[in-house]
């Protein structure tokens, strides 16, 4: 068993666990504030991150390690949609860096199975980051109030 790769996968699981929880709490807050569209998006993101965790867990088990779901790092909770977006951008930026480092590690170790699992996640996380940055761009161009008015309703 390559412990370094198991540790890297568990590190990714830890980051995804933060994402699952952070996005879910923001989804419920947005719903509470009446921004249903943003809430639906964040809720789906949270579920996607959970599916990633499942794939990483399966891989850790295949490699002979133990998936660690106990580690939940500290995170912050926004008091507005803009703060929630800013926190998501910071988290996704970190996740992409961590994922790329893990892909490099698997390549160096010749673990192409894990590499095949992880490398498609890089553009997926980047697309998520791109969407978040686009929302910030829209807020800048439309103004916060107009942007928020587009998030109201089913």
């Amino acid at each position: 068993m390559n412990q370094q790769i198991v540790d890297a996968l568990n590190g990714l699981i830890a980051t995804e666990l933060v994402a699952v929880n952070q996005y879910f709490v923001h989804a419920k807050l947005c719903e509470h504030w009446g921004f249903e569209k943003m809430a639906a998006h964040l809720r789906e993101d949270s579920m996607d991150e959970m599916r990633d965790i499942e794939a990483y867990m399966d891989r850790v088990l295949f490699l002979g390690g133990l998936p660690n779901l106990q580690r939940l790092d500290a995170f912050q909770v926004g008091e507005s949609v803009v703060e929630a977006l800013d926190l998501a951008i910071a988290l996704e930026t970190r996740a992409v860096d961590q994922l790329q480092a893990a892909v490099r590690l698997t390549e160096e170790a010749g673990d192409f199975g894990t590499m095949e699992l992880l490398s498609p996640k890089v553009p997926e996380e980047e697309a998520q980051l791109d969407w978040l940055r686009t929302q910030k761009g829209l807020i800048e161009q439309l103004g916060e109030q107009l942007y928020l008015s587009l998030q109201v309703g089913e």
């Binding site: 790092d73 500290a74 912050q76 909770v77 926004g78 008091e79 703060e83 926190l87």
Partner: protein, 68 residues
């Protein structure tokens, strides 16, 4: 944004406590309850104290260096 989720304390409340003289994580906890339960946010609070101290020293330096 909320920094301490256990006690629901936001960054603005913590910064106010620091500006009112809380210069350690424990002092911030005594002032506004932040970081007094699970302790996961204590590193963030420590960072916030350092940042405030840095801002104060920068402001002081600027004042000294600006000619009247």
């Amino acid at each position: 944004m909320y920094v301490c989720l256990c006690r629901a304390v936001s960054d603005t409340t913590i910064v106010d406590a620091i500006r009112d003289g809380a210069d350690t994580v424990d002092a911030v906890g005594r002032a506004c309850d932040a970081g007094t339960n699970c302790g996961k946010c204590r590193t963030t609070i420590e960072f916030m104290i350092l940042r405030e101290q840095e801002l104060v020293s920068l402001a002081g330096r600027e004042q000294r260096e600006t000619p009247p």
